[in-house]
Structure formats: structure tokens, C-alpha cells
């Protein structure tokens, strides 16, 4: 990692937060002749709200019509879909199916279809009970019709953030990890940011701090919104459950409940969730007995056979919910500051459109974009999706590099070559979580029963971190 310039001439742009939004903005700025620094409080990109979501590429059919979120999700869906193909990020065009389970839900379908149209999405279709059951034969008793949303898709969220960041790095954007911004002083030339590294100066400041975006906005003397972390617990089921559904099974939201979804993942699992509980602590990512019980009850109703399968993982993600309905993107031209707050679970889909929008705001506030420098290189991401040609099944790759033939994590079929790749190059994995997100290693049904000792040894060797540090025994 290139060093951060401290107490030195200003960066043109400083971005606080290396989540999917911060990284997308960094990538967008990287095509111009600008010096950009991304300051991240944690140890990796995409390590907060971006890492634990439902991994859906949304059409935006159910956004609030006319909202900024609606337009950015719609645009972002197209942009990210195309970018994923270019960068080798796993996407599956599974389609979505809202399933009604009672009269109230059934009666809500036409309204949802109308809402989708208002959001510019016209491909939905109302299905009869029979049509729903023909399509999804394993659904539980009591289906009362449904609404098909053919564009809903699934995507690899981890590769998306990593691809944006690697592309930005390819033309010299600096990423600083473990670098929390604790103070912002505005002056005539821009900002002076207090960090553990020292003072970092910038001409323009972007707040993409996710769960902490409200706090950072406070440091900038604004009080426009309050972030309340909304915890969503999720259960990941074994890959042997993947065949139970073909599309994303979505709940029909009603006045009483929002319901949970069952979605395939690009890694070949099924995901059940999320719950939605507003909490105070932006670090409280623990799952709860009540949450798990609620999800299993819901899952039993939607897809009874799912409950016979083994659970591979339980996790909770926090969404940056605010006291507002819409994204909180505001520019403050007199401070050369743009706040990109309240980006909720749709932020993954909308990320590239948010970046476009934010850069346009900067320009209208006076940032000068100069083209002509070296163009950033779209990275070629490691294939993590089951529908992609994984390394272990790629004879040509193994012929060139035998390490791709050496499977080390058997549940997820991750090879030694992929572990090595993840620990070297741009943005190498420096901890176990980062390695999991880059490779899927240890994410499978055995959770490391077979491979953890070997994977962690290898990570220690390649990252020059001690095993004790990697496993939290020492700082």
C-alpha cells in the first residue's frame, strides 16, 4: 500500500469510507487527473455494511417512486450489470418472484405492479397460484398468486467492492486502512482531517462512511440526518439446498410486516432473511436466538424442505437506515464537501450511479475534471461464482499454474493458487475475513473442519502476520 501524505500538500479529493459507495466514487474519480485518498477505519475494503447483505442486484421495482434512490438504483442496475460482465464479477439473472401467502398480500400485488411501473420498470407480471407453483415446485402450502420481476438478479458483493478499489488503485488512488477520521477542520483551501496517521489535507471531501456517515456529517457541522443501524440477520443454507428454488423468492410487503426472502447466492447457497431490528450499536453484528427462530419459522412456511438442510453460516449485517425515506446525498459547496449518507441495502446496486451523481455534484460545485492521464484498468476478478468457470475446473488455468489444481478448501473448492492470489497483488488479504471474502475459503459447510489450519498457516506465511494476530490472540 502506498503511503498517505501527511501534513503535506492537499489531495484533490479525500473520501471517508471504503465501502461499496466510497470505492465506487474512488473508481469514478480515478479516470481524471486528480489525487485521491480513501480513508477507511477498518482493515479492508467493504468491511462494514457492504459485506453482509442479501447480495441482490435490484431492478428498483419497489423503490419509492420519484425518489433519488429510485433513479440511482435503476441506473446503477444497468451500470453494475455491465461492469460485472467486464470485470468477471459473478452475476446470475435468476429473476425474482414475490409470493403472496394470504388475501391481503394477494390484493397488494396490482399496487406493487403499478409502483414498479412508476419506477420505470415495466416487465413485472402477475401470476396465478398455479403459475407460481409450476415455476417453484417446492414452495409451502398456501400460495395465493405472485408477481414476477424477471430482472431481479444476484451478484457477488465482495468482488464488486474489490474490483472498484483495484481499478482505482491501478491509477494511483491511495487507500489507507485502520485510519479513522476523528476531526475535520475546514479552511480556505479545503479540509484538514485528523487521523491516527496525522493530519491529511484535501481540497474536496466526500463522506461515504456508511453506518458512521451521520457521525462524520456531525464532524462537518451538519445535523441533517441520524443513522440508526438496522440489523438484518441471515441464515445461509448448504449448497445442497440450491436446487429447491430457481428464482429469488420475495415477500409481499404489507402494512403489518415486511417479511423475509429466500434467495440463491452466486456461490450456490440459499439465503434466508433478513430480519430488521433497529439498534444503537454500529458494531453489534451478533445474531440472536429470537432472530434465528423468526427466520426459521418464516423459512418453514415458504420453503419447508429448506429446514432439512444443514446451515452453513449465520450472520447479521447492519444497514445504514436513517430517519428519512431516501438516500441522504447533499453537497455543501461552501465547504467543498459532499455527504453521501443513508445509503441503505440498495446501495450495492446503486453504487456506480451514486458515484456518477456525486462526481456531477462535485463538478457543479467547482471541481475541475481533467482527462488525459492513464485510464484505470478494469481488473479481472477471481471467479467466485458457481456459474463461472472456477479455477479448480479450469484445465487451461491449471496447465499454466498447477496451484489452481490443488484444492485446499474442499467444501468451497478453493485452490492454493487462489489463496496465494488473494494474499498478493493489489489489496492483499491481511486477515481471515478478508481472505474469506476474496476466495470463499472456509465459508463452506464444514466451516474450516478440514482446511482452517492449512489456510490460516498459508495466510500467515503469505501476509507476514503471525497466526496469533490473525486469530485475535494478540493485537
Amino acid at each position: 500500500m502506498s503511503g498517505v501524505n501527511v501534513d503535506a500538500p492537499a489531495y484533490d479529493v479525500a473520501i471517508i469510507g471504503a465501502g461499496v459507495v466510497g470505492c465506487a466514487i474512488a473508481r469514478q474519480l480515478a479516470r481524471y487527473e486528480l489525487s485521491v485518498v480513501v480513508l477507511e477505519r477498518s482493515s479492508d475494503v467493504g468491511n462494514g455494511t457492504s459485506k453482509a447483505n442479501t447480495a441482490i442486484l435490484h431492478t428498483g421495482f419497489d423503490c419509492v417512486p420519484g425518489s433519488l434512490e429510485s433513479s440511482l438504483v435503476k441506473r446503477g442496475y444497468e451500470l453494475l450489470g455491465a461492469y460485472a460482465d467486464e470485470a468477471g464479477i459473478a452475476v446470475e439473472r435468476t429473476g425474482g418472484l414475490l409470493v403472496a401467502w394470504d388475501e391481503e398480500q394477494s390484493e397488494a400485488l396490482p399496487g406493487l405492479q403499478e409502483k414498479a411501473s412508476k419506477n420505470g420498470y415495466h416487465q413485472t407480471r402477475i401470476l396465478s397460484t398455479e403459475e407460481v407453483l409450476n415455476r417453484e415446485v417446492n414452495l409451502g402450502q398456501g400460495v395465493r398468486g405472485g408477481l414476477e420481476v424477471p430482472g431481479e438478479s444476484i451478484i457477488c458483493p465482495w468482488s464488486t467492492v474489490l474490483a472498484y478499489a483495484r481499478e482505482a488503485i491501478s491509477v494511483g488512488v491511495t487507500f489507507a486502512f485502520n485510519t479513522e477520521v476523528t476531526g475535520v477542520v475546514f479552511n480556505e483551501d479545503g479540509q484538514c482531517l485528523t487521523t491516527p496517521l496525522g493530519n491529511v489535507r484535501s481540497s474536496w471531501l466526500i463522506n461515504a462512511a456508511g453506518l458512521f456517515s451521520g457521525q462524520v456529517d456531525g464532524l462537518c457541522d451538519h445535523d441533517d440526518f441520524k443513522v440508526t443501524p438496522r440489523r438484518g440477520e441471515l441464515i445461509v443454507f448448504d449448497k445442497l439446498s440450491r436446487g429447491l428454488i430457481s428464482s429469488i423468492i420475495l415477500p409481499v410487503p404489507t402494512s403489518r410486516t415486511k417479511g423475509v426472502l429466500v434467495a440463491p447466492t452466486v456461490y450456490g447457497n440459499l439465503l434466508l432473511g433478513p430480519t430488521a431490528d433497529d439498534i444503537d450499536d454500529p458494531f453489534a453484528t451478533a445474531t440472536t436466538e429470537q432472530g434465528i427462530a423468526r427466520l426459521l419459522d418464516a423459512g418453514r412456511k415458504v420453503l419447508p424442505r429448506l429446514l432439512d438442510e444443514e446451515v452453513t453460516a449465520l450472520y447479521a449485517g447492519l444497514r445504514a437506515a436513517t430517519d428519512h425515506q431516501d438516500y441522504q446525498i447533499r453537497s455543501h459547496p461552501n465547504q467543498s464537501y459532499v455527504c453521501v449518507g443513508g445509503i441503505r441495502s440498495t446501495g450495492l446496486t446503486a453504487s456506480m450511479a451514486i458515484a456518477e451523481y456525486v462526481v456531477a455534484l462535485l463538478v457543479s460545485d467547482g471541481l475541475e475534471l481533467i482527462e488525459g492521464g492513464p485510464l484505470p484498468k478494469v481488473p479481472n476478478m477471481s471467479p467466485l461464482g458457481e456459474m463461472q468457470l472456477r479455477r479448480y475446473e479450469d484445465g487451461d488455468a491449471i496447465a499454466v499454474d498447477a496451484e489452481y489444481g490443488s484444492i485446499i478448501c474442499h467444501c468451497e473448492r478453493v485452490t492454493r493458487g487462489e489463496i496465494r492470489d488473494a494474499c498478493t497483488g493489489d489489496l492483499p488479504a491481511r486477515d481471515i475475513g478478508a481472505l474469506r471474502r476474496r476466495t470463499r475459503a472456509m465459508n463452506g459447510r464444514c466451516q474450516g473442519f478440514y482446511c482452517a489450519a492449512e489456510v490460516v498457516s498459508l495466510l500467515a506465511e503469505l501476509s507476514a502476520a503471525t497466526p496469533a494476530t490473525l486469530t485475535g490472540l494478540t493485537e
Partner: protein, 365 residues
């Protein structure tokens, strides 16, 4: 004999017999008809075979599969992982551990922790007693000062980067308490590694969750056999190896005779609670079965297992003490009394006295 020496001897004999052992090689898929897909450092290969035998073993259920809520810090192990961690890779474990489970393998986890210099504060079980043998429990208490906390359920794990505490519930009183530990070991809770078997479409036994086979390891698919702890999670290595040898003999016999070699023409063995599974899963009255393996989900004072078929008692046999998570077996002599054209044979526990079996037939041939 130690485990590594025992397996080294088996490897030596396998090689001497002309078998090729491909290590660092993963079977990614196999199809009916005997085609097997392999990935290794030398590339992707497909080999064709007359018979496939799957012996993919069993693993311990990890924390997630046991639905234990809480944080996801480092310091959470299964016994198998802990043993590789400690003995093969010599990685640091922690300083204060709790072992979830109180069966044979749980004591093994305790010894591994001790070897790694980790203090075990307790072994816990949700059941009312430990499920190992008395000498282990006594040794744990007196030599190692490790108590066994019975009727105790793990309901949470807390910690940011490393485990800091576990939350335990006393099942009887419902009271909860926290214990500070930096290491949690999930022991036992075995499940067969049945992915390949399921993907190949083999019929899976609902009790063992391994492929359903007869005593010869014949699965529901022709020319596909299975052996070892994939079928009966888990027996000790020597039992698994001996059973494997039996399967190999039957497999060779089938190949030589060229006769029908799937387990279709069989009668199913099933269990009644608290018995939770039985192996072999299918039998043929002509098969000589020395012993039938069983498991129970609860302690039970009854020791007599009765075999019924279509309401008729076909045999009975006494077992050792009926203890969960411990290997139980009964004589397989009742199998010769089974009607091949009848319904499934149900095994159930009955009171102390051996029930008279109805009209035992003499073994044909």
C-alpha cells in the same frame, strides 16, 4: 497401535496389492456408469471405472449448523480442526477453553487442548449424563480437574475479534450464566460428508444421512459402493476399517461374478425412537450379517432390541448400555428370518426380557 501407524500399515498393504493412491486429488463429480472427474495439480482428468466406492467420511457439525447465535470472532473450533491446528500446524490455540459435548471425542478434544497448553474449564452436554466411558470422566475430573457440566446448553458466543465469553443455560432451571473463555471447541455432532453421494443421486438414509447401503456397501445405484463413517457416523477407525474391508470383499465378489450389484433387491431396516439410526440400512435374508450398528438419541434403561416385520417379531438381541453418541450393536442373526417380500424391518427397544421370536427359520443352504 497409534492412528498414524495403523493407517501407514493399511497404506503399505494397499500399495503392495497394486492399488494406486492419488493424493492431492479431488473428485469433483462422478456419474452413473463409473465416470469420475478429478482435479489435481496435473489438471482435470476423467477416469472410467467398473465400480466406484465412496469413503468420504464424516465431519463434526460446526457452530453454524448447531444454530448457536452471537458474534463471529476467532477462537471457535471443531475437534478435527483443533487437532490439525495443534498437531499438524502447531498454531496457537488460546488459553482458556470450553468443550461443547461430553462424548468420547470431547475427551480427545480436552487432551488436545492440554497438549496445546490450554486450560479447559469444562465439558458441557445438554444431556443428563456424559456419554463416554466412566474412566474418561473420572480421569477428566481427578487428573485434569475438568468438570462435566450436564444439562447445559450453549446459547451464545460473545467477542469482537476473539471469543471473550460463552453464555450457558441450565436446561433444568432455565438459568443463564456467562463464562469467560477465549476458545470454544464443538465436539461430536457427526454428519457424513455426503455431498458427492447426494450429487450422484444415491438414496440417502434419513437416519444416518449417509447413502443407504446393504452390508456389502451396495448403494441404490448400480456399481456404486460406500464404506466407512460416511455410512455410520462415527465408529472408531478400526471398526470403520474392518467394515471397509468387508465391503471391498463384496465389491470384488460382485465384479468377479458380474451379478446385479445395487442394493435394490433388499428390505429396509428402520428404527423407532429413541433409536435414531441403524446400519446396514438394507438387508437381504441370504446375507450373513454378524452385527448391526445402532444409535440412540436418548439414554434408555432398556437393553433389548426387537426386530419386527409387518407386525411379526423376527428376532431380538441385547445391546450394551443404551447411551447416546456411543456405538451400539446387536447380533444380525435376525436377518435370516426376514421375509424378502415383506415391509421394512423395524428395530425398537423393549423391556428387559427377551421376547420369543416367532418360528425361526433355519438358514437356507
Amino acid at each position: 497401535m497409534s492412528g498414524p501407524r495403523y493407517s501407514a500399515e493399511l497404506v503399505r498393504r494397499a500399495l503392495a496389492s497394486g492399488a494406486q493412491i492419488l493424493t492431492g486429488t479431488t473428485v469433483t463429480e462422478f456419474a452413473e456408469g463409473g465416470s469420475v472427474h478429478l482435479t489435481s495439480r496435473s489438471g482435470i482428468h476423467e477416469i472410467n471405472t467398473h465400480a466406484v466406492l465412496i469413503a468420504s467420511g464424516a465431519r463434526e457439525r460446526p457452530r453454524s449448523a448447531r444454530l448457536v447465535p452471537g458474534d463471529r470472532p476467532s477462537g471457535i473450533f471443531t475437534t478435527g480442526q483443533l487437532q490439525q491446528w495443534t498437531y499438524l500446524k502447531r498454531l496457537p490455540v488460546g488459553s482458556r477453553a470450553i468443550v461443547i459435548g461430553a462424548e468420547h471425542v470431547s475427551f480427545s478434544a480436552m487432551l488436545t487442548l492440554r497438549h496445546a497448553g490450554v486450560r479447559t474449564i469444562a465439558l458441557t452436554t445438554e444431556l443428563a449424563r456424559h456419554q463416554s466411558i466412566a474412566p474418561f470422566a473420572i480421569a477428566a475430573r481427578t487428573l485434569f480437574h475438568v468438570p462435566i457440566w450436564i444439562n447445559t446448553r450453549l446459547v451464545g458466543i460473545n467477542g469482537r475479534s476473539r471469543v471473550s465469553e460463552v453464555v450457558l443455560e441450565d436446561i433444568v432451571s432455565g438459568k443463564r450464566r456467562s463464562e469467560s473463555v477465549d476458545t470454544v471447541v464443538f465436539s461430536g455432532g457427526w454428519i457424513p460428508d455426503n455431498e458427492l453421494s447426494r450429487r450422484a443421486g444415491l438414496e440417502i438414509d434419513p437416519g444416518t444421512l449417509g447413502p443407504s447401503t446393504d452390508i456389502g456397501g451396495r448403494t441404490s445405484v448400480s456399481s456404486v459402493y460406500a464404506a466407512g463413517n460416511l455410512l455410520h457416523p462415527v465408529e472408531t477407525a478400526d471398526v470403520a476399517a474392518l467394515r471397509g474391508r468387508e465391503v471391498a470383499r463384496e465389491l470384488v465378489g460382485d465384479l468377479r461374478s458380474g451379478k446385479s450389484n445395487s442394493a435394490r433387491d433388499r428390505v429396509a431396516l428402520v428404527t423407532e425412537a429413541p433409536l435414531s439410526w441403524v446400519w446396514p440400512n438394507t438387508v437381504h435374508p441370504s446375507q450373513h450379517v454378524v452385527s448391526v450398528l445402532l444409535r440412540t438419541s436418548e439414554f434408555d434403561s432398556r437393553r433389548l432390541v426387537i426386530a419386527h416385520q409387518d407386525g411379526r417379531v423376527v428376532g431380538s438381541s441385547r445391546t450394551a448400555r443404551v447411551v447416546p453418541n456411543r456405538s451400539l450393536s446387536i447380533s444380525g442373526s435376525f436377518i435370516e428370518n426376514i421375509d424378502l417380500h415383506g415391509g421394512p424391518v423395524k428395530l425398537s427397544l423393549e423391556g428387559g426380557r427377551a421376547a420369543p421370536s416367532s418360528t425361526p427359520k433355519s438358514r437356507a443352504g
